[in-house]
Amino acid sequence: MASNPMEQFTVYRIGPEIKIAGIDLSFTNASLFMVISASIVLLFLFLGSKEKKIIPNKIQLISEMFYKFVAKMISDTAGPKAKPYFPFIFSLFMFVLFCNMVGMLPYSFTVTSHIIVTLILALFIFVAVTVIGFIKHGFKYLSIFVPSGVPAVLLPLITIIEIISYLSRPVSLSVRLFANMMAGHTMLKVFGGFVVSLGILGGWLPLSFSVALTGLEILVAFLQAYVFAILTCIYLNDALNLHH
């Protein structure tokens, strides 16, 4: 009965094996849950925007709340210039949020607890922001690596440090989301295992912890999606408005 707490993270194949040019492209449970999360987002927003009432019903209210939340976040952190990137950040936020939230359901799989998923998201953001920076400013974009008011002796050192700091962005972005989700789910499983092994006499304490941790995990699921989106806004801001 006492199962491995890391077992919940195993990826397995669903359906036939698909191999193209030696790369395994089979449909796995991870892909299944990504599809589920994405379709929940789509369905939710579709239902929310179907009837455009002046006095909104509940689902319309919630979807408008999400819209306003992300719009405010973008205008606060990146200014009016970032308005065209709203669809990207909104879909990113909704996808990460719903992946995290779907992972909170029993017997489900948390896609964001795998570093490869979060790393690809973060690398995509990193490349996109860099490309946007170069398109908007040309080679002047490289000046973010050269801070003003630094003595010439220190300049090479500072530039290397700045480049490392810039390269560490996707790593910190992805590791944060992955570590939070994985640690939380492992902890839930460990406490669940305590409940089983301590039985009806001693199991109540870990059970109460489990309940509290579930609440905390839902908070973390929301918070990490928020942090992911707001950091994207901050990086976008650095690329759009050069001087800071």
């Binding site: 050192l157 290397i160 440090i161 700045e162 490392i164 700091s165 390269l167 560490s168 962005r169 790593v171 910190s172 590791v175 944060r176 570590a179 939070n180 908070l219 929301f222 918070l223 990490q224 928020y226 942090v227 707001i230 950091l231 901050i234």
Partner: protein
């Protein structure tokens, strides 16, 4: 369609109440926790990236332990820079 004056003022009062309560309490509590997570990973990620760059350059130039040591310290410096920047941004917001 006209909106009665009475309703307008009531809406204004309700809106300002929501702003005062919700924005100051809940949003801030959420962002504080997010910020705490942010600072930790910011430091670690830069150290990791610096060390990896040092390791790669070492195997390119065949200068085994030296570049990894140098880039470890540069990465630590970058991590501290990241933390200071994030902390500055947090202070500006308040």
């Amino acid at each position: 369609m006209t909106v009665p004056e009475d309703f307008k003022t009531r809406l204004k009062i309700a809106k300002s109440k929501i702003k005062n309560h919700l924005n100051k309490d809940q949003e801030k509590r959420g962002t504080f926790m997010g910020n705490a997570f942010k600072l930790g990973t910011e430091l670690v990620a830069a150290v990791g990236v610096g060390t990896i760059i040092g390791f790669i350059l070492d195997s390119w130039f065949d200068t085994k332990p030296w570049l990894i040591i140098i880039f470890f310290f540069l990465g630590s410096a970058a991590g501290m820079l990241n933390v200071i920047r994030t902390a500055n941004k947090m202070q500006k917001k308040d």
